[in-house]
Amino acid sequence: MAVAAATTAPMFDCRKAWAETLEQLAASDERIVVVVNDSVGSSNLGGFQTRFPDRTINVGIAEQNMVGVAAGLANGGRIPFVSAASCFLTARAMEQIKADVAYAGFNVKLVGQSSGIAYGELGATHHSIEDFAWLRTLGPITVIAPCDAWETAEAVKWAAVHEGPVYLRLSRMKVPTLDLPGRTFTPGKAEVHRSGTDVTIIANGTTVHLAIEAAETLAAEGVSARVLNMHTISPLDTDAVTAAAKETGAIVTVEEALDRGGLGGAVAECTSATHPVPLQRVGFPGFMPTGSIASLFEEFGLSREGIASAARIAIRRKGA
């Protein structure tokens, strides 16, 4: 489901990029296995299962078991990609993620599908908006939220060769592919989508293209907004955040997640230590009411106008 009616660029569901990339990688690296919880279909892994039935471990509806089994598979030399709806993967198996993956230090790739509020009307149990706050506290885990199909594929390729636990927070929401000349994906390094001097909008995942739209609205008002794609929320690119604080004097964070403890929280921790500036956090305040993705994005300001308005407030607060 598209989130921005205003966008006319073609929109892509990143699940295809995830599944095709993983299949290609698995064809040349037989250590790659997937571990799922009755989630073959919802993870787009039907093709993987047909090609590599022996490397598809479906433990059934049992997420704690799923993550523990993945840690064991890593012990055995496999490279497990655990793929499940991120709400159940992170909330249900949190202790397995903490103890068996992060603390024990196993090379497990956790792939959260349909994260954020992709499940819309299915409600708060099925939303995964607390995951940034939970996962980024576990130091050994690299936490990445790709913003489009290209970045999804790059992140999957990187995770496969990286030695260490990774959380890939994927979405099934349709987003445009963002174009940058000579684009490369470097985990831990923010991607600059637009330069600017009055305010910096830091976004990730499904909200990056909305941040770019907001910057266009602001430009029409004579406001120069920098836009950073902070695809890696842990470890955070503190250099880029501090530079943004020093050079633009105001920051807006945007995330399809709780407005506490996630990207906005991480940026606040950083700037409060390096260069405090006004910071407006756009995100969700708590458990969401019933509603479609589009209506909830609109209601909670994850939109061109909502983000632009947060930027105006941040700029007004400068020197206050």
Binding site: D38, S39, V40, G41, S42, N58, V59, G60, I61, A62, Q64, N65, C87, F88, A91, R92, Y119, G120, E121, L122, G123, A124, T125, H126, P289, T290, G291, S292, S295
Partner: protein, 277 residues
Amino acid sequence: MTHALKTDNSDALIRDKALWMRQQAMKMVYAKQLGHLGGDFSAIDVLATLYFGVLRYDTARPEWAERDRFVMSKGHATGALYTALCAAGYFPEDWLDTYMGHHSKLNGHPNRQYLPGVETNTGPLGHGFPVALGIAISGQITGADYRTYVLTGDGEQQEGSNWEAAMTAGSRKVKNLTLIIDRNRLQQGARTEDTNGLDPLDDKYRAFGWHVVEIDGHDYAQLLDTLGAPVADREKPLCVIANTVKGKGVSFMEDQAKWHHGVPNAEQFAQAMKELV
């Protein structure tokens, strides 16, 4: 409205209510193009039996301390739960039209803070059973005579939390608790036995200290007898394995994995409504 014991007329009443529930669930899911009809239709006969032949409740007093409790652990089957609560009189029929709408009380998964008659929030599988166990233990401690019923899916039984609850209930002899397993043999993506096999489910529960009865989950007489059996006649918790058909009542939906969360198009909707008479 208060319902209590079964009457000579229960069978016919339940049949009528179950038909109405299937029709309404079909309309709601068709209108919203979202929902879980397969699991709604396998469970509807169980819910209709509970609300119109077994449970003691008063819709005017949803918090009545003496009410029998029903916990819908397979929370995705809101087409079954919401139509049952509506049929029972907990809320007016026009609320069904708001199913999954903006700020609707009829969320995609049940929320006790939105709707009367919902005992606890469910949606993530494997939560309802431990909560129901707590409700039953509370009754055991205080000597209250209410009964607690919980319905889980069969795929749902793969969650370890169920087995932790099963062990506690068996060990504590929580005999006022009845677990009903909707044994439709399908989960989201495939058959249960092709995913993470459950059989022999009856032996497993027996080994955990439960009475186990296996019945046809679409047969009202068997459902009434089993679910209405007096608690005083047993020493252990009761596990009812209700053999059901996912999508029961609509020919093209029956026993098909794709109707777990498949939604009907206009033609399928018309065909389904023709069959639901």
